[in-house]
């Protein structure tokens, strides 16, 4: 129940290394679910069986393999314009993952900086940042995105920027809370005792110690962003053709759910699988890196 003092502290490298040796089953599932799309995304140009943009109305809506009317040349069938689903899914993985990863990089960087500054310096800096965080939290994120994307024309860069700008608050809040706790730890006090500068304390002492939280938050954010991207596509604000993303495929296939289920179900599965993978991995990272990060 209570861990006694003898155990190594959470989040220490040895603990992580040890944990790596006995990774629980769900985490392994998670990794597999992630490695596949990541691999696919990286090697997309080499593994796509067809040109994902090649339109050929004559072979539109071929169902995926085991189903009646399928064509072995198109393992996962074709879409309404006769494009190969498999190739499009592979192509789409790049943008979906890229949006997720870049969005998180941006959100994480801003959020980390804001959280560190607010938590460490307190007072005015804290008040200013936290009021902004409050404000952004009070406006539902997707609403903000909706308004922004109503202005700037949607596209990969815009999407990343917007998702980054709306997701950083989560980081800022959590990291600030974490910093508030860490800055009271004795090693920070010790560093101050012999005159280490604030910058150095922030960089060398505090930042490394919020990393577990940061990493766990990041996994969750990637998942959130991938899902948000598909919602945005639904509202017409996501990635736009000729670019392909899973969210776009999912939404543009939605009219076909009853007639050609694979158009939206396959990208839906791809999203669900990847998000599942990320969340499973995130759960495990949370347990491994920081058992205190409850939420």
């Amino acid at each position: 129940m209570t861990e006694s003092i003898g155990l190594p502290r959470a989040g220490t490298p040895a603990r992580s290394r040890k944990a790596l040796r006995n990774i629980p089953f769900p985490a392994i599932v998670g990794m597999v679910l992630l490695i596949v799309p990541a691999f696919v995304a990286i090697f997309a140009p080499w593994i796509m069986p067809h040109d994902p943009a090649a339109i050929d109305p004559s072979r539109a809506l071929i169902p995926p393999l085991p189903f009646e009317g399928s064509d072995p040349a198109y393992l996962l069938g074709t879409d309404n314009l006769g494009r190969d689903m498999l190739s499009r899914l592979i192509d789409g993985s790049r943008i979906s993952l890229l949006v997720g990863v870049l969005g998180v990089v941006l959100a994480g960087t801003i959020g980390l900086a804001a959280g560190l500054l607010a938590g460490y310096y307190g007072r005015f800096v804290d008040a200013a940042i936290m009021r902004l965080v409050d404000a952004l939290l009070a406006i539902p994120g997707i609403l903000l995105i909706l308004v922004i994307l109503g202005v700037v024309k949607p596209g990969l860069t815009t999407l990343v920027v917007v998702l980054g700008l709306t997701n950083w608050v989560v980081y800022a809040r959590q990291i600030r809370a974490e910093v508030l706790e860490i800055r009271e730890r004795l090693f920070v006090e010790a560093a101050k005792n012999f005159g280490v500068s604030h910058t150095r304390i922030l960089l060398r002492h505090i930042t490394p110690n919020v990393m577990p939280t940061f990493i766990v938050l990041s996994t969750l954010s990637v998942a959130t962003i991938i899902i948000t991207e598909s919602s945005l596509s639904f509202l017409g604000l996501g990635v736009q053709p000729p670019d392909v993303s899973w969210g776009l495929m999912l939404t543009s296939g939605r009219d076909y759910i009853t007639n050609a289920w694979w158009l939206s179900t396959l990208p839906g599965l791809a999203i669900a699988g990847t998000v599942l993978g990320i969340l499973l991995l995130g759960d495990w990272l949370r347990d491994t890196l920081d058992p205190r990060l409850g939420v």
């Binding site: 090693f187 005792n193 012999f194 005159g195 500068s197 060398r204 490394p208």
Partner: protein
Amino acid sequence: MTTDTALPGTASDAAVRVTALCKTFRVADGFFGRKKDFAAVRDVGLSVPKGATLGIIGESGSGKTTVARMLAGLLRPTSGDILITGAPVFDAKGRTTAAGRTAAQMVFQDPYSALNPRMNVRSILAEPLTVAPRASRQEIARRVAELTDQVGMAASALEKYPHEFSGGQRQRLVIARALARKPQVLICDEPVSALDVSIQSQILNLLKDLQEEMGLTYVFIGHGLESVHFMSDRISVMYKGAVVEQGTADDILHRPGHEYTRRLIESSRAQPFKTR
């Protein structure tokens, strides 16, 4: 109350000299209330001659740590003066002076949180030396090796991380780090409370040895009477933020004046309970 028998030496060569030290915190009053002032340390005066040890005892919350942090320049006093080896720890504006940062170093109660878990021992020990005036690379390496040796740790420890050490070993590292900039005064805030019984004496011995070797001055805080008595020449007893009595270690032990001191001694005297 015991008489304040002066120890050898005059005020000028006192390593630590504290006069009329006060610290007031603004705290929330009750659960919903407004802020109010809380005097954690009230009019404390201390004087420790060079090379001697002053023990401070007192119940939990009596202000011991608060005094220690002010001595180490970590907390700005509300009023009062602190001189370490004759130099003020805080300047007129309440900022910690350079002397205040070097002359007194702190050894903390909890060795588990006093070391950054994400830095290896080498960088932990080197860090104080990288602060201006910055030592050269070779100088740092030399000092780090010397420090490890001084606290009785093997050189192989340098590449390890704090969690790979037991509590006692960590406390040695904390002490080594405190010594890095060659301070004259060490402020030890309950340095052995978190340690196993069998380890406590190792650390106490180490502190004694170091004091002898380097002529250090200690302010030694504890709430167990035994260890404070063992370490100290003089003892101050704190109660609710104020020093209620002070005297030589033996005086305090044998002729306790304050009620709290008496209870403390009684509970340490280990007489079997008698059935009523």
